[in-house]
């Protein structure tokens, strides 16, 4: 009897391999881009501002536009880069940080956990004020890439890599 469950996983692996190979010689190990919808009234963030946004300390882009955090699930490279460079926390510390933050009534909820860059891009396009950190090689034209400390992904001083 054929195991239907095995079909998506093998297919996923192969498709992922195709994507991965084609991306790898196109862009190499990409930087992590911080993307928002074009209507977010911010083009450049200092690294400290980015940290405030991602830690839930800055919750508004403007008075009428609230930040919605989209963070990749455990194991994703994008999450690892953020944990290491922005949060400076382990996975366990990151979870405890958000539980405590919600418990202190400083935020109504933690970040939305995203399981693929495609999903992150979809939600970043759909949710007003959403901010996602995705592989710079996968950013579509409809989203705005924020400068960090005045630099864009691929530039020498860009901090998220």
């Amino acid at each position: 009897m054929r195991n239907k469950k095995s079909i998506p996983s093998r297919r996923t692996l192969l498709a992922g391999l195709c994507f991965g190979i084609s991306r790898s010689f196109a862009a190499g190990q990409s930087d992590i881009a911080v993307v928002v919808r074009p209507d977010v009234p911010v083009d450049n963030l200092s690294f400290a501002d980015l940290r405030r946004v991602l830690m839930g300390d800055r919750q508004f882009w403007a008075s009428n536009l609230k930040v919605t955090l989209l963070v990749r699930g455990p194991g994703a490279r994008e999450r690892d880069v953020l944990l290491k460079s922005v949060y400076q926390m382990s996975e366990a510390q990151f979870r405890q940080y958000w539980i405590a933050k919600v418990f202190r009534a400083e935020a109504a909820s933690g970040p939305r956990i995203i399981y693929s860059n495609e999903m992150a891009i979809e939600l970043a396009e759909a949710v007003p004020g959403a901010v996602a950190c995705v592989d710079a090689g996968e950013v579509p034209k409809g989203l705005k890439v924020l400068k960090i400390n005045g630099t864009l992904p691929g530039e020498k001083a860009y901090p998220l890599r």
Partner: protein, 438 residues
């Protein structure tokens, strides 16, 4: 299955061969057409799987179908996690309110000490009972609900075991239920948020950083100066609070300004039902979290109230406090000081009661990351002239312990404490706790 391999294998070969050279348009077109075909197959698989699972789900839990890309569908199903790990649902683009989330916390404790006299004046949560044994910690439920993008409600409910359960007439119940916090907050922007409700009074660090979930704090119990049920500072506050954060050139200045009912006639209680006089208590709290020193927090507070305590003089109360915290775990440092001044209104001696604690902890590196040893020294001095605090103990204590995180959501803690209390022989205690969130 075979067909999929027939489709995909050429793609793998083609892309592998393409290392070091650019793709010609025909190859790119072929890859695109194959990918489109894979997308189609994935959609079909997803549809079939959805049809198979749909009848098992109740209508209330079914998400609204919304278009998702094949790439999104191919990702593994999100693992169920804590509610802060919110997997995005298809309707996430248009959230429906209210969005209620519930988190639970609880702990179980073992305590033993070698004191030969009853230890009085300490909170029940400090676990200095006359007899050794196990004790149920608080069962805390935390509710958070967004009512709109700018309005949120937070609640905290606890059930606490009573030492007098079953006594009296009618018999006392086994547990006390208490609404510890209920807050409705309007967020205008980051600079100004206005809320109303019952708070943990923001006049020192511990009281607002750690609430009723013992799992969140490194140690088994809170410092006595900020202990639940204690009297040194008013742990709860009913009223209104304005708060916000200002970048302030990288200092990140946070502020709270509150007005509300002061302490009740029993000074460990707040004025839930109403104030005991016509003087509102007020407080100002400010702290900075500098960008340049990520992890540092330092600040201070002032609290003012007029007290009408049972068995004590009417007095004005000033509380001044300061704290400095390094809240990374390598190391963790918390230091707080508070001075409580009581000025009797109708004459008498003005008294100053003081308390402080310092706590160090360090998350061990490498394979020992689950272990976090800690040490705390705490000190509380109540002058004999402070008749309002006559039941509050004067003491110093050292606590040495270790926390072991079993998982990301549960921990074991083991503590040794040494107490030196005024007019009581010194004694030692051993304490153990398992605390968790769920």
């Amino acid at each position: 299955m075979k067909r999929i391999f027939q489709i995909v294998s050429p793609v793998v070969l083609l892309t592998s061969c393409a290392f070091g050279q650019s793709l010609d348009p025909a190859t790119r077109e072929l890859i695109q057409s194959l990918l489109v075909r894979i997308d189609g197959l994935e959609r079909r698989v997803a549809e079939l799987e959805q049809e198979k699972t749909a009848p098992q789900a109740s209508p209330a839990t079914l998400p609204n179908p919304a278009p998702r890309s094949a790439a999104a569908l191919e990702q593994p199903a999100p693992q169920p996690g804590h509610d802060h790990d919110q997997a995005p649902v298809p309707e996430a683009a248009q959230p429906s309110y209210p969005l209620l989330k519930i988190t639970g916390f609880s702990d179980l404790n073992f305590a033993a000490n070698d004191s030969h006299v009853p230890v009085t004046g300490f909170s029940q949560q400090t676990y200095l009972q006359s007899h050794s044994g196990f004790a149920e910690g608080q069962f805390a439920l935390h509710f958070s609900s967004a009512l709109s993008s700018k309005v949120s409600v937070f609640g905290e409910l606890t059930l606490t075991a009573r030492p007098d359960a079953g006594t009296g007439s009618p018999a006392a119940p086994g547990f006390n239920a208490e609404v510890e916090r209920i807050i409705v907050r309007y967020d205008l922007n980051d600079y100004f948020k206005l809320s109303f409700g019952r708070y943990h009074t923001p006049i020192n660090y511990w009281n607002t950083a750690f609430h009723h979930g013992a799992w969140l704090q490194t140690t088994i119990s809170r410092p006595e100066m900020t202990q639940f049920g204690g009297s040194f500072i008013p742990v709860h506050f009913v009223g209104a609070l304005a708060e916000g954060a200002i970048p302030a050139g990288g200092l990140n200045l946070n502020y709270d300004f509150g007005v509300g009912n002061g302490r009740g006639q029993v000074i460990s209680r707040d004025g839930d039902f109403g104030d005991v006089n016509n003087n509102r208590a007020w407080l100002v709290n400010a702290f900075v979290k500098p960008d340049a020193l990520f992890g540092l927090q330092a600040g201070g507070s002032v609290y003012r109230d007029k007290l009408n305590p049972l068995g004590g003089p009417v007095a004005r109360e000033w509380i001044r406090s300061a704290h400095i915290v390094w809240n990374r775990e390598t190391p963790e440092f918390i230091g707080e000081f508070a001075d409580v001044t009581h000025e009797p209104v109708f004459g008498g001696v003005t008294s100053h009661s003081q308390a402080f604690y310092t706590q160090f902890a360090y998350r061990l590196p490498f394979n020992a990351k689950k272990w976090k040893p800690y040490y705390r020294f705490e000190y509380m001095h109540i002058p004999f002239s402070d008749t309002i605090f006559k039941s509050v103990p004067s003491f110093n204590a050292s606590t040495a312990g270790v926390r072991y995180d079993i998982t990301n959501f549960a921990a074991f803690k083991f503590e040794y404490r040494h107490y030196d209390i005024r007019k009581v022989p010194e004694f030692n205690g051993f304490f153990a706790q398992t605390s968790f969130t769920f």
